[in-house]
């Protein structure tokens, strides 16, 4: 055993106790409040969030943890956002999961490490109202992606799972 002075050992022990106390007192509260979601939105609030990004190409992706193709394409969106952020791309994710599935949403986001904001559709109300407000031609199928040009206008809709190349081609065309 290394020969530490007693005062140093006491200091180490006290420091360890202080850290444990801090973790015991602070961690449960933080864990309860911590969320990787940026917030909850209805259709109007989503439109406002998109409008705030005017001047950029905005990609909005609707996903859910129960949707296998959504989970499959999500890593491509994470990669795409990293590659095109400096060129003017902004990505917004919107989870359509039910409130009871929020722990699954948190777990999914923790594993996916997106560097872009992810919201969830506000609970309550009729899903049809949300779907119609986002795009009257959207049937409610997910994954579903909408691209907005730098002028803030809707430019492309991508229904179903896309490849990285599909996303890249659509985004590149709008960034030109």
């Amino acid at each position: 055993m290394p020969n530490f002075p007693l005062s140093a050992l006491r200091f180490q022990r006290r420091a360890a106790i202080a850290v444990l106390l801090f973790l015991a007192l602070a961690a449960p509260g933080r864990a309860a409040d911590a969320t990787l979601l940026t917030g909850a939105l209805d259709g109007k609030e989503l439109a406002a969030a998109i409008a705030r990004e005017k001047g950029h190409v905005v990609l909005v992706n609707f996903w859910a943890t129960w949707c296998v193709p959504c989970r499959e394409e999500f890593p491509d969106l994470v990669r795409l956002e990293k590659a095109y952020r400096d060129r003017g791309l902004r990505v917004l994710g919107v989870s359509t999961d039910l409130a009871k599935d929020l722990p699954k949403v948190e777990k999914f986001l923790a594993a996916g490490h997106p560097d872009f904001p992810n919201y969830r559709k506000k609970s309550g109300g009729d899903d049809q109202d949300f779907i119609e407000s986002v795009d009257p031609k959207w049937g409610g199928e997910i994954p579903f992606t909408i691209l907005y040009g730098k002028d803030g206008k809707k430019a492309r809709v991508l229904s179903g799972k896309q490849s990285y190349a599909d996303f890249e081609s659509a985004v590149s065309a709008l960034l030109r």
């Binding site: 859910a64 129960w66 949707c67 193709p69 359509t96 039910l98 009871k100 009729d126 899903d127 049809q128 779907i131 119609e132 031609k137 959207w138 049937g139 409610g140 199928e141 997910i142 994954p143 579903f144 809707k154 430019a155 492309r156 809709v157 991508l158 229904s159 179903g160 799972k161």
Partner: protein
């Protein structure tokens, strides 16, 4: 002139990009006829089904979509209850990722005794512009589309449904009344096209 042509070209391209979502038949329009085989190998003709029944309900379904599977019991119950009233319920499986055997096993497991057709190459899904599962189309004896949309608004809990839209449409049509909500929407799984 060149600028004008460029602008027109751009406008055309924008419209084409935005209209990437195809259009299916509108309410009141003729439902596209088709012939397919059921998953137990029998021929199915929509035209013949229309003639032989008061109404035909096509529901695009999946064997592994959680949203579609949440409606397995409701689909079975609706099919059985309305068969007595002359309504034919037909499941359409257009998912390229699901085989005929998958559909057979799924129907057996869930007590689905209604006809299920396999839409290989998603030709019928394309004709109707069906996008998700579950998604219902109700067709009258005259071959016209009378209802398009969801089964109800609450996929999570059948006991808390407040808007049983498909049943409401069927009841209205059987009573000779117009369908109040003829087009409805809900979240669902994308149909996996070939």
């Amino acid at each position: 002139m060149k600028t004008m042509r460029t602008l027109l070209g751009l406008a055309f391209l924008s419209a084409a990009a935005l209209s990437a979502l195809a259009e299916g038949p509108a309410i009141g329009a003729t439902a596209p006829p088709f012939e397919l085989k059921t998953i137990d190998g029998k021929p199915f003709s929509l035209a013949d089904a229309e003639k032989a029944n008061a109404l035909v309900v096509l529901v695009f379904i999946s064997t592994n979509c959680p949203y579609s599977n949440a409606y397995n019991d409701r689909m079975r119950d609706i099919a059985n209850a309305y068969a007595k009233k002359g309504i034919l319920f037909v499941g359409v499986n257009s998912n390229s990722t699901e085989t005929v055997q998958d559909a057979v096993d799924h129907a057996k497991k869930n007590g689905h005794t209604f006809a299920i057709v396999k839409d290989t190459g998603n030709k019928v899904a394309d004709l109707y512009d069906a996008r998700r599962t579950p998604e219902a189309f109700v067709i009258g004896k005259d071959g016209k589309l009378q209802y398009h949309g969801r089964i109800d608004e609450n996929y999570e809990d059948a006991s808390k449904v407040t808007s049983p839209d498909l049943k409401n449409a069927l009841d209205a049509l059987l009573a000779g009344q117009p369908v109040v909500k003829a087009e409805t929407k809900a979240f669902g799984c994308t149909i996996k096209r070939a």
